[in-house]
């Protein structure tokens, strides 16, 4: 008799347990449904942004091109060896052309990443030289916003003793995007780039003292075609590909990116890039004699 009593109790307990499990399952299902809805909304938005992008790209490419063409014509018409004037206009052409080049590099990188046809091309790079080169390209933008630039080398190496195996073009594009954003969203003062090594991994940070990024925007800035509206700068250039390209390139190297920012307090972007060991040829084939590996004992499928 007492045995049955216990069984009844157990039965009730079991029933209660099952009901609870069912409740949790329903709750989880609701949560998953919510997430699905959010993803769905996001995908729809992404498609819409893509069509905006096609429209925007017109301005991004046609306008700088028109400037380059106009300026070149003006140079051709300069008389009396007015070198100062020529120099001035050549400088303007450089700025426009550099901007164009930068936009196109982002667009092509995004296209290559989305097509799955991007490969690291590794060589030994002088990191400090590379950063200085990138900054030099943005000199005019820095000047026009009255920004000073500071480069802090926190590695224990001197400039010319510090080399790192990675992909120089892709590192340049990552840095160009971070520096371009820092300039775009700065309000005077300066931009600081710091380089250091963390357990042998290259870390670089770009700090600006600009408008900062809200929590909500932090979640979307890596999405493609997303442009954060500054409200101040209605002529906010760019097509919203930059940071999504940065993130995808870092993923290619097994690196990552972190943001520290508060609205009105500036932003600090930190990227970490592990060193790529293999020097690979242009087809992305590692020269580690990988094929020898398969000579014996491999399973066939």
């Amino acid at each position: 008799m007492s045995d049955i009593q216990i069984t009844d109790n157990l039965l009730l307990q079991e029933l209660e347990k099952r009901f609870k499990e069912k409740e949790t399952a329903i709750l989880e299902l609701e949560k998953i449904t919510e997430e699905l809805k959010a993803v769905n909304a996001k995908l729809t938005a992404s498609e819409q942004l893509k069509s905006h992008f096609i429209a925007n790209i017109n301005n991004e490419i046609i306008n700088p091109f028109a400037s380059v063409l106009g300026l070149s014509r003006s140079i051709l018409e300069v008389k009396d060896n007015d070198w100062e004037k020529v120099k001035y206009m050549a400088k303007l052409i450089f700025v426009e052309a550099h901007n164009l080049d930068f936009q196109l590099k982002n667009i092509f990188a995004a296209a290559e990443i989305e097509a799955g046809s991007i490969y690291p091309q590794i060589s030994r790079i002088n990191i400090i030289n590379l950063i200085e080169g990138v900054v030099l390209d943005f000199e005019k933008d820095l000047k026009s916003k009255r920004l000073t630039f500071e480069l802090i080398n926190n590695t224990k190496f001197e400039k010319d003793d510090f080399t790192y195996k990675s992909d120089p073009e892709k590192l340049k594009l990552i840095l160009s995007n971070l520096i371009s954003n820092a300039i775009k969203f700065s309000k005077g003062a300066k931009i600081i780039v710091t380089v250091w090594l963390e357990d042998g991994i290259l870390a670089m940070s770009v700090k600006d003292f600009g408008i900062g990024i809200s929590q909500r925007n932090k979640e979307i800035i890596f999405d493609r075609f997303t442009r954060i509206d500054t409200g101040i700068n209605s002529l906010n250039r760019g097509h919203g590909l930059g940071l999504s390209v940065v993130k995808a390139l870092l993923e290619l190297f097994g690196g990552d990116i972190a943001i520290e920012s508060k609205v009105g307090d500036g932003s600090l972007f930190t990227v970490k890039i592990p060193e790529t060991d293999d020097i690979v040829d242009e087809d992305g084939f590692s020269i580690d004699g990988g094929e020898v590996f398969f000579v014996d004992g491999a399973e066939l499928f």
Binding site: V39, S46, G116, Y119, D223, A248, D283, G284
Partner: protein, 155 residues
């Protein structure tokens, strides 16, 4: 013969016979092969579905397989001739990442997606606890596989 090391999130298909090597942990590689034209292609994806974050790259299975099929068709393959082999999706433990069951989800996606596209899977080596290194001959469709036993794989 042309040789290629396929990185994660990349995909490749070409008319030229190619030996492709890739290393898989929880990632999955789908090899598509057309026995009529004797051409093939391969992808290497890390996560099953694109969630709208970042770029729509072949890092995500649904995009990687769709694009690879598209590429094969562009190279002249007829849809009904295409065959698939799938590899990877191991249960490689990574403590710092909360990517639970990612290998399994990657495998499931390949099976479901290919079934939906009516592409038969003619052979596979998926799951388990070890990473894999595969060598794919795009002209014959042959795949040679070795387990990457105790070495750490992060893909």
């Amino acid at each position: 013969m042309k040789k290629l090391f396929l990185y994660p999130a990349a995909l490749y298909a070409d008319r030229e016979p190619t030996q492709i090597i890739t290393i898989l942990g929880s990632c999955v590689a789908v090899c598509l092969w057309d026995p009529v034209l004797k051409i093939g292609g391969i992808n290497h994806y890390m996560l099953p579905l694109w969630n709208g974050h970042g770029l729509a790259s072949p890092r995500y299975g649904n995009i990687a397989i769709e694009k690879l099929i598209e590429k094969m068709i562009n190279l002249g393959s007829s849809h009904e001739n295409i065959k698939a082999k799938i590899f990877g999706g191991a249960e490689v433990l990574e403590i710092e990442k909360i990517t639970f069951n990612i290998g399994l989800r990657n495998i499931e996606l390949a099976i479901e997606f290919l079934a939906e596209k009516k592409i038969p899977i003619i052979s596979s080596s998926v799951g388990g606890k070890f990473g894999r290194k595969i060598l794919y001959f795009s002209d014959t469709g042959e795949v040679r596989l070795k387990y990457v036993g105790k070495t750490k794989t992060k893909d």
